[in-house]
Structure formats: structure tokens, C-alpha cells
């Protein structure tokens, strides 16, 4: 009898949990589903309902989104920037982290602290001087500007993560390599770097996500439509075509596709990367 009672208890707590968890999950996913369904709906059908399927499927809205919003060029720009910035961050941060973590200098901790200050600096405070600097170098509408900026702003967290990881690598490996005549550069590229692959992929994921989803720098430094990144492209498309909503939803779906695909393939990496990024404080 008591077994039955405890079983019922377990099941009822489970039920309560599901009663909360499922609506919460719907809450998170609903905008996505709504956008997906609405992307092929005629204007008249979009608003006024929550879940209805379209009567006519307007798949041509996707074609319109691609043509009018230059979605593919936006995605291409975003990817270009994200990939290059990620690449640069990994290299620059790895070299800097190597020094802090593995080379014995007295001011190591000071340098680390110096970079950590970067976490606390709000981006917006630096905007105006950055605009001045970019203008001096004629960097507007230049993807390279964004690449350099994104690289710089992801350096503190990347260095922090890499230092934490590299410190955990045992010293014996390097010491025996040095006895064999290995210089710092060889040590770093042939030993530490391969061993640091986990943290490098974490840093890569965080940086890529940051670059792809970034908004403010793009808004300020990109005015040429052909150079727009995803974030700006979406915003501007909404601004233009405020009467026909179907293509707008279609463009949103196209824009988020790459991220969803990346997440599907690299779920563990993405989550652990963002945990590390959030726990940094």
C-alpha cells in the first residue's frame, strides 16, 4: 500500500513539474514557431490568430526576402566577420595567454588583472572615441573595422579562459621539450596549443556567437546596404516593408538558420562556452 502511495506521490510531483515546464518551454519556443508559420501567411492571416496554419502557402515570400533584403549577402557578411574575428581572437589570445600562464615573469598577475578590467568596461562608454578613431582611418562601411573591433572586445574573456585552462597543463611536458632544445615558439605551437583544443573551441564558439549576433557596432559603422550584417539587415528590412509582414518573417527565419544549425551540431560546445562566458565574473 505504501509503495502505491509513494508512487502516486512521485507521479504527482512529476505532473506538477511538467505542468510548469511545458508551458515555459512553449513560452520560449512560441515566437519561433509563430514566425515560422507566419512567414508563409498572407498579411490578413497573420494577426488575429495564434496557431492557425495558412490557407495558402506563400513560399514566394522567402524568395522576396532574399531579393529585397539581400539576406544572403547579410549572412555572408556576418559569417565573414565572425569567422575572421574568431580566428584572430584565438591566435592573439592564445599567445597572450601563453605568456601569462606559462612564462615566468614577475608582472604576470598584473597583466592578467589589466585584461580582467576589460570585463567591467561598458561598450557604450567607448563608442564615441571609437567612432572618432574609425573615422580617422576611414573605416566606415569596412568589414575589417568590425573584425578588429570584435576581436579586441572578445580578447579579455578569451585570454581569461585560456589562461585558466593553460595553467592546468602540467609543466613536465614543456620542460622535457626545452631540454631537447625547444624554443618558446615551438613549445607553444606544438605542445600547448594542441593540448588546449577544448578551451580553444570554447573561445571560438563564444566569439563566433558574439560576432554573429552583435548589434551596436554594426548599427553605427555600417551604412552601406551591401555591407550590412544580419542584425542590421533585419532591422532595416523591418523598417522598409512595414506593410507586408510575410517576407519579414521569412527573412528572420533565414537569418537565424545558421545559428540553429550550428547549435544542432555543437550543442554541448555552445552551452559550455556560454556557461564559461557567463561565469566569468
Amino acid at each position: 500500500m505504501t509503495k502505491l502511495i509513494s508512487k502516486i506521490k512521485v507521479l504527482s510531483t512529476r505532473l506538477l513539474i511538467y505542468l510548469f515546464a511545458i508551458p515555459a518551454a512553449i513560452l520560449g519556443i512560441y515566437p519561433l514557431i509563430f514566425t515560422l508559420i507566419s512567414s508563409v501567411k498572407d498579411n490578413s492571416e497573420i494577426f488575429g490568430t495564434m496557431f492557425s496554419l495558412p490557407s495558402i502557402y506563400h513560399f514566394e515570400y522567402y524568395k522576396m526576402a532574399i531579393e529585397y533584403a539581400n539576406i544572403f549577402s547579410c549572412i555572408k557578411n556576418s559569417f565573414e566577420i565572425s569567422v575572421l574575428a574568431t580566428f584572430l581572437v584565438i591566435i592573439i589570445a592564445a599567445f597572450a595567454a601563453y605568456v601569462i600562464a606559462r612564462i615566468d615573469i614577475r608582472i604576470n598577475n598584473l597583466i592578467m588583472m589589466f585584461f580582467i578590467v576589460g570585463f567591467m568596461l561598458p561598450v557604450h562608454t567607448m563608442l564615441i572615441p571609437l567612432v572618432r578613431i574609425v573615422n580617422t582611418f576611414n573605416g566606415r562601411n569596412n568589414l575589417l573595422t568590425l573584425i578588429i573591433l570584435y576581436t579586441t572586445f572578445e580578447l579579455p574573456i578569451s585570454i581569461f579562459l585560456m589562461v585558466g585552462y593553460m595553467k592546468g597543463i602540467s609543466k613536465e611536458i614543456e620542460e622535457s621539450a626545452i631540454i631537447d632544445g625547444c624554443g618558446y615558439l615551438r613549445c607553444m605551437t606544438s605542445i600547448i596549443l594542441p593540448l588546449s583544443m577544448p578551451i580553444i573551441s570554447t573561445v571560438g564558439v563564444i566569439t563566433f556567437l558574439y560576432c554573429y549576433n552583435e548589434l551596436i557596432f554594426g548599427v553605427i559603422f555600417l551604412t552601406d546596404k551591401t555591407k550590412y550584417t544580419i542584425s542590421i539587415g533585419l532591422m532595416s528590412f523591418v523598417g522598409q516593408r512595414s506593410t507586408n509582414y510575410g517576407p519579414i518573417f521569412a527573412s528572420i527565419i533565414i537569418a537565424i538558420m545558421p545559428m540553429i544549425i550550428i547549435y544542432m551540431f555543437m550543442q554541448e560546445k555552445v552551452e559550455s562556452g556560454l556557461t564559461a562566458g557567463a561565469v566569468k565574473g
Binding site: 510531483t13 513539474i17 510548469f20 515546464a21 515555459a24 518551454a25 512553449i26 520560449g28 519556443i29 512560441y30 515566437p31 519561433l32 509563430f34 514566425t35 507566419s38 497573420i46 488575429g48 495564434m50 592573439i92 589570445a93 599567445f95 597572450a96 612564462i103 615573469i105 597583466i111 589589466f114 585584461f115 576589460g118 567591467m120 561598458p122 557604450h124 562608454t125 567607448m126 563608442l127 564615441i128 572615441p129 571609437l130 578613431i133 579586441t152 572586445f153 580578447l155 626545452i178 618558446y184 549576433n213 548589434l215 551596436i216 544580419i230 542584425s231 533585419l234 523591418v238 518573417f249 528572420i252 537569418a255 537565424i256 540553429i260 555552445v270 552551452e271 556560454l274 561565469v279 565574473g281
Partner: protein
Amino acid sequence: MINNRWKRVSVAIIFLLPALTLYITLMIVPIFQSVKLSFYSWNGVPAKLPEFIGISNFERMFCDPDFWHSMVNIGWFILGSIVIEMPLALIYALIINSHIPGYRIFRVSYFIPVILPITAVGLMWRFVLYPTGAFNILLQTIGLGSLATDWLGNMNTAVFAVVVINKIVFAGLNMLIFIAGLAAVPTNVYEAASIDGAKPRQRLIYITIPLLKESFKIFTITAVTGSIRMFDILYVMTGGGPNGSSDVPATLLYFEAFRYDNFGYASSIGTVILLLSLCASVILNYFFGNSRGECK
């Protein structure tokens, strides 16, 4: 290690140079420049030099009701973090941690909004909150149709709508912090408590939550500093409107600088954001103390 000190130092310098150069020129120097510019007036034209006006910008700021309103809005974001985001993130984490059937699906659906561009997420929610959008339909269906309004276009509700959406979305991110924290709690503590007759609810209140202190600290610091710098989602969903009702200092900064060309005044807002951010970090770190090494 390599014993030649000069070699060590020179290699260190070379390896550090790219990072330090970028960091100093594009982050450290601009901060100082920005603080300095807050004491000047400038309209952004390179030919015209900034004019030194002392603390006029700050005087103007502290007398500006829009500024104080934006600070209050930050308060709403912080409040939302504590009241909405924290419980949600904790509950999500507990659900995921309990590994009930389907927990993986839950994890994905809580987390997906976080990896999407904030523009996309903001826009999607914007359409849901339209006067004729899905949310109002939902209210009508459950009989609360009288509450239906233009959530983002109504001055009284705009900022709260953004706060709620922001917290729902980012609860998914902060859930990860609590999951990591929960994973660090040793299982034998729970076993010992069960043996002593503790019920699940008691276990939750008296064991889990106290042992998550580090996670709460991380969450609070991230949430508060994040609220102070809030910009992206507001820009996408309301643009600070309607009529500045959902402005925060960061959006004020953006508009003052890039719409009204008041670069000096905008810089002073930036300086205030900087100070707030630093103070919050320092105060919160002090307040939470160094809890490492306590319960080991």
C-alpha cells in the same frame, strides 16, 4: 624553464604585443577619452574643436527628468532580474537537473533564444506583442481581453513588456549558471539528509539553495551589470520609445550622440554608466564576500 631572463622577457613582449596593442588602443584609451570628453561640448564635426565646459554636462544630466527616468528603468530591469529571471533560471536548472523524461527538449527550448541574434528575438517578440498579435489573442481566449493593449506602443507598459521578455529570454542563459552550480553539489549531502528524514522540499530549501550561494553571486553580478548596460533589446523592440518611456542611459547615449550630435553630453552619460558599472561590480563583490573555500 628557459633561464635567460632577457630572452624570456623579449619573447613575452612579442607574444603579448598584439593583444596589448589592440586592448589599449581600442578599449583603455577610449575609456579615458570618453571621460575627458564628458567635460566638453562637441557636435562631432572634425573641423570644430570640442569646447571645454566643465561640469555643465553633468549639471544638465542631473536636472534632466529623462535621465532620471532612464535610471528608474534600469531599476526595473534589475528588479525583473531578481523577481522573474532568477526564479525562472533556478527552476529551469532544477527541472533539467532532475533528468525527467524529455529534459533535453526542455533544455533546448529554454536555451535557444539565447543563441539567436538579439535582433531576431526582439523582432519576433515584437510581433507577438502587436495590438492584434498572438499575446492579446491569448488574453482574449482566457477571458482577460480587457487587459489587451498595444504593449510596446503604450507608454505605461512598454518598458515593462521589454523587461519581461528580456528576463524570459535570458533566464535560459542564466539557467546554465545554476546547472553548473547544481552539478557542484555533492550527492552524499542529499543522501545524508534523506537518511535523516528530510523531505524533498526541505532538501531544496535548506541544502540546495544555500550551497548555490556562489551561483547566486555570479548571477546577481552579471544581472546587475548587464542591466546597467542594457541596450540591444530596447533598441530593437522600442527604440527607447514611445516618447522615451523605455529609455535607459545607454539608449539615451546613443540618441544624444548619433541623432542629436551632442557628443559631449553623450560622453557624460557614458561616464555615468561606467561609474555605475564599476561601483556595482565592486559593491556586489564586497557584499557577497569571498565564499570560496567555505563549505569544503
